[in-house]
């Protein structure tokens, strides 16, 4: 059973960088049947897929277009974790951020394990 435990700040100032970490237990971050994904939830936009990282002989990253220029998702194999970094945040980045395990085997792409969520407010 995969478990995801998140840590991250509750408050970030506008124009600064948001960082959230997701520690994975029960599966290797290099698993070839999983991608490690970041999703956020806000009242105005509901659930929004942000991006993912996965390993298939080498590391791959995908990002949604709206945050592609500001976001970095980084795996750390020594700690079996993934990190999200979102630069130049604005009020619109206020949301609950989730890491999730994305099943990428069998032609399906769905999220079967979720972290507890990190509530982030962007405010001066």
């Amino acid at each position: 059973q995969v478990q995801l435990r998140q840590s991250g700040p509750g408050l970030v100032k506008p124009s600064q960088t948001l960082s959230v970490t997701c520690v994975i237990s029960g599966e290797s971050v290099t698993s070839n049947s999983a991608a490690w994904t970041w999703i956020r939830q806000s009242p105005s936009r509901g659930l929004e897929w942000l991006g993912r990282t996965y390993y298939m002989s080498k590391w791959y990253n995908d990002y949604t277009l709206s945050v592609r220029s500001r976001m970095v998702i980084s795996p750390d194999t020594s700690k079996n974790q993934v990190s999200l970094q979102l630069n130049s945040v604005t009020l619109e980045d206020t949301a609950v951020y989730y890491c999730a395990r994305e099943n990428i085997s069998g032609g399906y792409y769905y999220f079967d394990s979720w972290g507890q969520g990190s509530s982030v407010s962007v405010s001066s």
């Binding site: 994904t37 999703i39 939830q41 509901g46 659930l47 929004e48 897929w49 995908d62 949604t64 277009l65 709206s66 989730y98 999730a100 994305e102 099943n103 069998g106 032609g107 399906y108 792409y109 769905y110 999220f111 079967d112 979720w114 972290g115 507890q116 969520g117």
Partner: protein, 111 residues
Amino acid sequence: QSALTQPPSVSGAPGQTITISCTGSSSDMGAGYAVHWYQLLPGAGPKLIIYGNNNRPSGVPDRFSGSKSGTSASLAITGLQPEDEADYYCQSYDARLTACVFGIGTKVTVL
């Protein structure tokens, strides 16, 4: 990022059956990608309740069922229970965007 289309709210009395629709496009469901459903209870994180159009993960009650045809999908809840009051989201994959896409969410109210 385009989203799948869901009704903002659906309601029903205990014991009734409700359905939530999810409409996509030729680049997601219409391209053959499966649809999945998540339940968000107040104060809790998302929970997968249907994957691969019509499969229930272990532990999900059989009153939840899903279907997909072409660019549309639906989630049915039969024998509606008070604990089913939550937000429900559909999700698929968009080959044009090379990204996962969600619906806007449907709030289910048990009257």
